[in-house]
């Protein structure tokens, strides 16, 4: 057991080193995310000017939601994992994983975790810089239960994000060019994952349907727990649903990997 864990620990450490090389990349991206927050701030402040209450929340609560979403994204979001998997399959680099006693999903997940440690740490810099301007707008609700439920929701959200990215990467076995699918999934996740607007602003029927989809549990669910957009009772009911989606998507990723390998041709001497 220890030997197995040690294997992925090494992959994690290698991932940590290689992601530190791209620290400027993450730093600039996190900086730009806060530039995007300026767009969100200006748009929603203007919307709140003619309606002091939107969806039952004041401007501060909505801004807190978007700030939380950005921070959460850098800690658990899948950035380009689907693209990296696509490259490894297309270039035949996955051939080595068929010869080694290593699980490709677990290996990639170790590197994903390392990348999020680096990007998560770097997002704290622009957050700290923005706090003097945003601090008095932010309203994080109290309650230890929000942290107790928010942390597992974040972990499961990260697993769901990675599993979806992995599944999209697996499409390379069937379609060599998957960039279009990736951007389409990004658009889906932006809307259904609550990045464009808090999902509870949708008409009630649409909101109910979305709660059955995995995108809801990627980032919206943990962010909504932490920012007070859902009650403890709802969070407790939905946490098992999130866990079920995580298990289901990991199983789907494994299935696609096995089926995809049947189509794969490993070329080389």
């Amino acid at each position: 057991m220890y030997a197995v864990l040690n294997k992925y620990r090494t992959a994690f450490l290698i991932g940590l080193q290689s992601n530190v090389v791209y620290r400027w990349n993450f730093a600039i991206r996190s900086g730009f995310s806060f530039v995007q927050l300026a767009v969100v701030f200006i748009l929603w402040r203007a919307a709140y000017a003619s309606a002091p209450d939107i969806g039952g929340f004041a401007f501060g609560a909505t801004l807190t939601y978007f700030v939380t979403l950005i921070v959460v994204q850098f800690f658990i979001g899948a950035f380009n994992e689907d693209y990296l998997i696509n490259e490894e399959i297309r270039n035949g680099l996955i051939n080595q994983f068929m010869l080694k006693p290593i699980n490709y999903f677990a290996y990639r997940f170790s590197i994903f975790t390392a990348a999020r440690v680096v990007s998560g740490a770097l997002v704290l810099i622009p957050l700290a810089a923005a706090l003097p301007f945003l601090g008095h707008y932010l309203v994080l609700p109290h309650g230890a239960w929000r942290v107790a439920l928010g942390v597992p929701a974040l972990a499961l959200g990260g697993l769901i994000q990675f599993a979806i990215a992995f599944c999209f990467g697996m499409l390379t076995f069937w379609f060599l060019e998957i960039q279009g699918f990736i951007i389409l999934s990004l658009a889906l996740e932006s809307v259904l994952g609550g990045q464009m607007f808090p999902l509870d602003l949708l008409p009630p029927a649409a909101f109910r349907v979305i709660q059955y989809l995995p995108f809801y549990y990627q980032m919206y669910f943990p962010a909504a727990i932490l920012t007070g957009r859902i009650s403890g009772r709802t969070a407790l009911h939905q946490l098992p649903v999130q866990a079920a989606w995580a298990v289901g998507l990991v199983a789907l990723a494994g299935f696609l990997w096995r089926r995809g390998l049947r189509r794969h041709t490993a070329v080389g001497g």
């Binding site: 730009f32 995310s33 767009v39 951007i183």
Partner: protein, 264 residues
């Protein structure tokens, strides 16, 4: 080289792209669908917000749709004509394949910017234009021919400004070799174009409306359709287009000095 020669090169690139699109028709349909979906996402956001409020900075729902679709029209035109080429420029500088562009007999920025077109984005620019027309119809607007000509000219200025911002963003690769995906930062900046200028207050108004050109890009043409000829906005958009294009060309050539070829 004469302008005619450059036009001939660009036409040759367009012919090559169209032939390539006909070869990969499935790819074209997927990308066209992706962009159509993004257009829908942007409109959905406006519709959802207006379910809860009557106005955003004094702009009604259809005025806002007109503004957002104008911003999308400019962005789709930029993506149709330049995005793929400039995106590949960043990657080629990192890999050293930029040598291929430098070896061509022409201005490096022109050669690097015009290699490929994205017909799917151009199709979607027609969709965005359709939404502009629909929003204008719902608002009961009847712009004059002069207003329409001015709108078209301001769209060209907008594409020039977006092109400059994209080149400036990608040119960072000359200094930051390990930075990947910087091109995506352009989309963050472009989001400012979807906001009405009245939404900006205080220092942010000076910065984003009058210094950083991305708000004027979409507001100037949208206001022309909504309120007729606006001399100050028109002059400012034209001046911004010229100034930022000059800055982008300057920064690109400064960056080019730092480019070290990958060949032996």
């Amino acid at each position: 080289m004469s302008l005619q020669r450059y036009a001939a090169i660009w036409l040759a690139c367009i012919r090559y792209t169209l032939t390539r699109t006909l070869m990969f028709r499935g790819d074209f349909f997927i990308w066209a669908l992706v962009e159509l979906f993004w257009t829908g996402v942007n409109l959905l956001m406006i519709l959802v917000i207006y379910q809860h409020t009557a106005s955003i900075a004094g702009w009604s729902e259809y005025q806002m749709i007109l503004l957002v679709s104008t911003a999308m029209l400019i962005q789709r035109l930029l993506m149709g004509f330049f995005w793929t080429s400039i995106f590949e420029m960043g990657r080629n500088v990192r890999s050293g394949d930029f040598d291929f562009v430098l070896a061509q007999p022409g201005n490096p920025l022109f050669m690097a910017s015009t290699r490929k077109l994205d017909p799917d984005s151009l199709v979607n620019s027609a969709v965005s234009l359709g939404i502009v027309i629909y929003a204008a119809h719902r608002l009961g607007l009847h712009p004059s021919v002069l207003d329409l000509a001015l709108y078209a000219a301001l769209i060209v200025c907008g594409v020039a400004i977006h092109y400059s911002v994209l080149v400036l963003t990608v040119a960072l690769v000359f200094w930051l070799k390990h930075a990947q995906g910087l091109e995506g930062s352009y989309f963050t900046l472009a989001d400012f174009g979807r906001l009405p200028s009245q939404a900006f207050r205080g220092a942010s108004r000076i910065l984003f409306v009058w210094i950083v050109p991305l708000v004027v890009v979409s507001n100037a043409p949208a206001r022309t359709i909504l309120h007729g000829f606006q001399p100050a906005w028109t002059a400012w958009a034209a001046a911004m287009a010229a100034g930022w294009l000059a800055l982008a060309i300057f920064v690109f050539h400064r960056g080019l000095r730092r480019y070290s070829s990958a060949s032996s």
